[in-house]
């Protein structure tokens, strides 16, 4: 009896998590996020805060990582406080994501290659000022570290962007 209950609980938890994940993935597909500099990262990295939106209060970290890598490739971020300089996106063509869909779709899928280039520098912590309920959804800011040098090299190797030295 006890075993059956445990199993039931496990299935229910998995289903709940799965549903939450689906909703979060849906939010990510629309790439609704805001990105800002969170400080000067260690060598070869950007330290950024990503604001993601979610209907669930507990889904954010995975989505934040995905959004962060997407942001570095396609959006860049503004400079300002904390010694931050503005950074342009790694790609200059905004349509490249759909033009190179065969590369980017698997790259950003759940557990995709994007994960190699990002880590949650806040170790799962969300700062009190970085969680906000806006209407019926949550806006959650997570600080992540993106390995921009490694990411650039990978995109260059895949022929998505040109190497820094290719113009010379």
């Amino acid at each position: 009896m006890k075993k059956a209950l445990t199993l039931l609980l496990l299935v229910a938890t998995t289903l709940t998590y799965g549903q939450a994940q689906k909703k979060a993935d849906k939010a990510t597909e629309a790439w609704r996020y805001e990105i800002e500099c969170a400080g000067i990262g260690a060598d070869g990295t950007y330290l950024i805060k990503v604001w993601s939106y979610s209907k669930k209060g507990n889904v954010a970290i995975t989505q934040a990582k995905k959004n962060a890598v997407h942001g570095i490739i396609f959006k860049g971020f503004a400079g300002g406080e904390r010694g931050c300089n503005s950074q342009k996106p790694l790609v200059s063509n905004p349509n490249l994501e759909s033009e190179k869909a065969e590369f980017f779709e698997p790259f950003f899928e759940e557990g995709g290659k994007y994960m190699k280039f990002v880590s949650a520098s806040s170790d799962g912590n969300v700062d009190a000022g970085d969680r906000m309920k806006v209407g019926k959804e949550y806006k959650i800011g997570v600080v992540v570290s993106v390995m921009k040098d490694a990411l650039r090299k990978d995109l260059e190797a895949a022929g998505i962007i040109k190497g820094l030295s290719s113009g010379f």
Partner: protein, 395 residues
């Protein structure tokens, strides 16, 4: 539902709530009148009493203020603090002033690192400057320096009881004598009877709280006009600091607390031991009251996880099994401003040990597996990581 404000987390309405908790540094003193009964016992007990773990110990050499005949010692305290340049001495301690007059940043760095939350540490590790960033933040702690002066009043229940016509009347009299308007707090003494009340002491302390004035202007003057180091000492700057009058304190207010030390006819404790204990308890009570009445002293931190409910705070922040927290959620209003709304309360879950995150705890206690403190929900719905929890009731 409760909406809270920037100025007071117990009140209503809210923009720009300061969600960052910073450790306060405290310097405690007491009024001493040698002719009072057991004055030396009280003084010794106060002087050797520990500073609560939650605060940085900022005590200076002098901790005793001679009493005057005045009923209210406020003017005496203010005069003493000014005459002894306490504000300047407090600043000198922050900057480790040497006998020669040179300053250093060692204490500021050490306290900055100790103040850092787990979130601060993880962020700092990911940044180019690394953990040095935390040490820099130590400067922000200077403005949270407080001077607390206790004026103890010890009232023997036995003496009061003898003077009163009956022990029921005595309860009210004790309250009046001790200056406590609500004598209903003595119900435990009442139920225990005269023999119990006979050997205990009621301790009342009026605590006067001051805060060091440390702002951008004072800091700029300090660094420009007074900063000098032992290796390259500037006699002009040493002199300028010695003669400076820019360091001040602001009187914040007074809180009255008391401790009722119960004793029984079976006690083996001496009178001195009872008084010692009551002194410590009275100071504890004052600290609890300060935490309740002043937002600066309330521990605030985001929830680490919502299920189970955990947070990255522990003994360093003075948590006990009695600690209770309000859970707040930040919400954006239609006008774009944010407010914090109370969504529940939690208390420390006694089934789990409180995380020992004090300095050196990991070396002293290598078998510790906890890296967070667990809480139990008292009220509210689902809680999520990042919701703000704020200490309640001063415990």
């Amino acid at each position: 539902m409760l909406v809270v404000s920037a100025a007071n987390l117990n009140a209503q309405v809210a923009d720009n709530v300061d969600v960052k908790y910073r450790r306060s540094s405290i310097y405690t003193l007491m009024i001493h009148e040698p002719t009072r009964p057991y004055a030396e016992v009280i003084k010794n007990s106060f002087e050797k009493g520990p500073i609560p773990e939650k605060f940085n110990d900022h005590n200076l050499g002098t901790r005793i203020i001679p009493a005057t005949d005045a009923k209210d010692e406020s003017a005496n305290i203010t005069a003493f603090l000014e005459a002894n340049n306490v504000a300047k001495e407090v600043v000198a301690k922050w900057f480790g002033r040497s006998a020669k007059g040179g300053f250093n940043m060692d204490m500021i760095k050490q306290r900055g690192s100790y103040d850092a939350s787990v979130l601060d540490i993880t962020k700092a590790k990911a940044s180019k400057r690394g953990l040095d960033m935390l040490a820099d933040a130590g400067e922000e702690l200077i403005k949270n320096t407080f001077i607390l002066v206790n004026d103890f009043k010890y009232v023997s229940k036995e003496e009061v009881a003898k003077k009163a016509s009956g022990w029921l009347n005595a309860l009210g009299t004790i309250g009046d004598y001790a200056g406590i308007s609500n004598a209903s707090t003595f119900t435990t003494a009442a139920s225990a009877g005269v023999t119990v009340a006979g050997k205990g002491y009621v301790v009342k302390t009026t605590a006067h709280l001051y805060r060091l004035d440390w702002n951008d202007e004072v800091a700029a003057t300090f660094y420009n006009d007074f900063w000098t180091e032992d290796g390259n000492l500037s006699p002009e700057k040493v002199k300028a600091f010695n003669e400076s009058k820019i360091f001040k304190m602001t009187y914040i207010g007074s809180d009255v607390s008391w401790a009722d030390v119960q004793s029984s006819i079976f006690t083996s404790k001496t009178e001195e031991q009872l008084i010692e204990k009551s002194t410590v308890k009275a100071v504890d009570a004052v600290i609890v009251k300060l935490q309740k009445n002043h937002d600066e002293f309330k521990t605030k931190t985001p929830l680490f996880t919502g299920e189970p409910i955990t947070a990255k705070i522990g003994l360093k922040e003075g948590l006990t099994n009695k600690s209770v927290f309000t859970v707040l959620e930040q919400r954006m209003k239609e006008d774009g401003k944010t407010e914090y709304v109370e969504v529940g309360t939690i208390k420390v879950d006694p089934k789990f040990p409180i995380w020992d995150n004090r300095y050196g705890a990991s070396e002293e206690n290598p078998t510790q597996t906890a890296d967070r403190t667990y809480f139990k929900k008292s009220s509210g719905k689902a809680f999520f990581p990042g919701m703000l929890i704020v200490q309640k009731k001063g415990k």
